[in-house]
């Protein structure tokens, strides 16, 4: 998969029209919507076919019902569209809240160069996963009921998750909007957004905490259906903690790809600090994984479930917990010792597999493990999942080749000065140009 992106320096957009007027804005949009670079690359062809096929399957799903394309049954009402697309996908989107927390609240400046890419990834993940969720709902036109309807199911964990999900998607949009403002050269709008950055991020972290935990909380109501090795009253906490290392590993994996594919868009500062960033992420990941495993062990001994480890489901549990959580933890520690970024990257992949296994186990595999006829996804369910991912990648690429996501944002110091003279003259914190120097040092 080679880059099909024509290198283009950010600040010098082709004869930028005045985006302040509607007409200019539309012209600019039309110009930006045009594809750039070669169109018939292998990547485009493959994902294009997947997306077209996915759309066809989705059409059948809406015409003939969920049963026509999925393997869902009365015994397994939720399949991979929930278990993978939503429950697993949201865990990986956790990178956005972790990183904004580190950079803006803890002021760990070295991660600043990757914040925008991670937030963009998170935002797109939420948009596309809620899209996937609509496919899975039997009556998606009623999805607004718990939002504006007269029937609020306050006592439902799903009600809580839905609300936090929706609000957090909005928050992510606000968090990514400085990049959009840069792209449109809306300096004033950007200033306004930046003033609420800290507040937005704090709201975002709060919402994330609750809905990451809430996704686990959903399964609290199925104590008799989830295998006792996985069911625990701590599921919400475990989901929250594992969303952190899911987020960390996703950031590492994603940076592996963006570095290779979009290398022409990276600035020097980014490249130089990258190794330091990776090792830092590994440290963060390792410490939360240790906490997670500690809780897991408590659960295991507390529930007197040690005997269950010697059953087939027990072996499977060990594959997940020992093979894909404990082992990566050890490998992270080794990687930090040896200062090996390669090992960090490999370990991130192992960790990600562990998180996928965990989410799939709770929502699909260890769910009703006793049933004689088990659920497995139909090829069409898998196809649609791939189509959702492909669409997300397309949009991600589109944004990343047009907006200043990977490189340093354009320097608006001159424009800001004029604004400053007009306005209250308050120093805008996280002023792009200056903080960039900090991270480069």
């Amino acid at each position: 998969m080679k880059s099909n992106v024509t290198p283009m320096p950010i600040p010098g957009m082709p004869a930028a029209p005045d985006t302040g007027t509607l007409k200019g804005f539309l012209r600019f949009l039309a110009q930006e919507l045009k594809p750039r670079g070669k169109i018939l690359t292998p990547f485009n062809v493959v994902t294009g076919i997947i997306i077209l096929g996915g759309i066809a399957i989705i059409a059948v799903r809406f015409a003939r019902g969920l049963g026509a394309v999925t393997n869902l049954s009365q015994a397994y009402p939720w399949g991979i569209w929930i278990g993978f697309d939503v429950v697993t996908g949201v865990a990986f989107a956790g990178g956005a809240y972790i990183l904004t927390f580190a950079v803006h609240i803890l002021k760990v400046k070295k991660y600043e160069p990757i914040v925008r890419a991670t937030v963009l990834n998170g935002f797109l993940a939420y948009v596309f996963y809620s899209g996937a969720l609509l496919l899975d709902l039997g009556r998606p036109w009623n999805v607004v009921n718990p939002i504006i309807g007269n029937a609020f199911g306050y006592g439902s964990v799903l009600f809580l998750v839905a609300w936090h999900f929706l609000l957090y998607t909005l928050v992510l949009f606000v968090e990514i909007s400085p990049a959009i403002a840069d792209w449109l050269k809306w300096v004033k709008a950007k200033r306004i957004i930046q003033k609420v950055t800290t507040a937005t991020i704090i709201v975002g972290v709060t919402l994330s905490t609750l809905h990451q935990a809430g996704l686990g909380g959903l399964f609290l109501t199925a104590p008799s259906k989830i295998h006792p090795l996985w069911y625990s009253s701590n599921i919400p906490v475990l989901f929250f903690i594992s969303s952190m290392f899911a987020g960390f590993s996703m950031i590492i994996i994603e940076s592996m790809f963006t570095h290779r594919i979009f290398s022409d868009r990276l600035d020097e500062a980014h490249r130089a600090s990258h190794n330091k960033i990776l090792l830092g992420l590994a440290k963060g990941s390792a410490s939360v994984m240790a906490a997670y495993l500690f809780l897991k062990v408590i659960d295991l001994t507390h529930g007197h479930q040690l005997g269950l480890l010697l059953t087939p489901m027990g072996y499977w549990y060990l594959v997940e917990v020992a093979g894909f959580t404990l082992l990566p933890l050890v490998l992270y520690v080794v990687a930090i010792r040896e200062q090996s970024t390669r090992l960090v990257q490999g370990t991130a992949i192992l960790t990600a597999i562990g998180v996928i296994l965990n989410r799939l186990n709770i929502s699909v595999i260890a769910f009703k493990w006793y049933e004689a006829v088990r659920y497995y996804p139909s090829w069409m369910e898998i196809w649609v999942t791939l189509a959702v991912i492909s669409m997300e990648l397309w949009v991600f690429r589109w944004v990343i080749t047009r907006m200043p996501i990977l490189g340093a944002p354009p320097d608006f110091t001159a424009e800001e000065k004029t604004l400053n003279n007009l306005g209250d003259g308050e120093v805008v914190r996280w002023k792009v140009s200056s903080s960039w120097k900090v991270s480069a040092s």
Partner: protein, 303 residues
């Protein structure tokens, strides 16, 4: 700065603790209430499996009362007993046959339908109140509210709600205790149809009384257990049996905690986290900005 670092960490710890405690399940088993919060006596049903003859008159009556499509095999066909059946979107009650451990010549017939739990998990799971527990006892379904998320199916300990997977405009389907008939003063269709009195409709309180009486008078005939008296916090429909419930298709591992209790700890932690978390994070941010400023001053590199 008014907030000291130590105090601040205390608050941070409290917020984390709330989240942790939120997951913890309380072991309290409350007394099963016999009335709604408004004081209306719950209706229920007592199903005596020792009396049931497997005639499936209840299935047929249910089919008619709810205007369900006619099944492909007639209601008098014995062949349906060959395999264990679950309720379906088109059959709210199904009768199953089990071998009788006590008396091999006399198989046990057990009907299966919504248990109309005293604290239904399906209703607490539903995010738009499409599943609702009525003060009179039954758990009903409002089709106009439902969004088809199927979380009620995940949550029901008895796997009762069924979904129309083959419809482009699907609904969840299950027994609603003949809510409209009962409101008119009639009995649920199945109870009215039963020729053997195996299905008794009445106030839950009275039915429990009756069940205890039967066990007391015929200790050899019945197991000393009323299924549904305490299971998952009590159910509106309850069963008597001559043989262990485990052997006639009942789950005996469901416990007595009512299911909404499983999530109540977590849910009550939510508003606290929503308030404490931002406070803690602003605190962090404040402390760290302060420190940054000092450091900035010392080293002289102005941001």
């Amino acid at each position: 700065m008014t907030i000291s670092r130590r105090n601040f960490l205390k608050v941070a710890g409290a917020a984390g603790g709330v989240l942790l405690a939120g997951g913890a399940r309380s072991a309290r088993t409350a007394q099963v209430p016999q009335t709604s919060s408004e004081g209306i006596e719950f209706n229920g049903m007592l199903i005596d499996t020792t009396k049931c003859i497997g005639c499936r008159a209840c299935e047929e009556a249910c089919n008619e009362a709810n205007k369900l499509p006619k099944p492909s095999v007639s209601f008098s066909a014995e062949s349906v007993f060959e395999e264990k059946r679950e309720t379906t979107p088109d059959a709210y009650v199904v009768v199953n046959r089990f071998p009788n451990g006590k008396n091999p010549d006399k198989p046990v017939f057990v009907r299966r339908q919504c248990m109309h739990c005293v604290e239904p998990s399906c209703a607490s799971a539903c995010l738009c109140k499409a599943m609702e527990k009525m003060p009179e006892g039954p758990t009903v379904y409002h089709k106009d509210r439902c969004m088809g998320c199927r979380y009620c199916m995940i949550s029901c300990p008895f796997d009762i709600p069924k979904f129309e997977f083959d419809s482009a405009s699907p609904f969840v389907r299950k027994c609603i205790g003949c809510y409209d008939r009962v409101a008119k003063g009639e009995q649920p269709a199945c109870a009215e149809a039963c020729p053997e009195g195996a299905t008794l409709f009445g106030k839950r309180r009275d039915l429990l009384e009756e069940a205890r009486k039967r066990i007391y008078r015929n200790p050899d005939r019945y197991r000393q257990r009323i299924y549904g008296e305490h299971e998952v916090g009590g159910t509106g429909y309850m069963y008597l049996s001559a043989v262990p419930f485990r052997t006639i298709g009942f789950r005996i591992d469901l416990g007595t905690t009512h299911y909404p209790e499983l999530t109540s700890g977590f849910l009550s932690a939510v508003p606290l986290v929503d308030i404490l978390w931002p406070a803690v994070l602003f605190g962090f941010n404040y402390l760290i900005s302060d420190r940054e400023e000092e450091r900035g001053k010392e080293s002289g590199d102005e941001e």
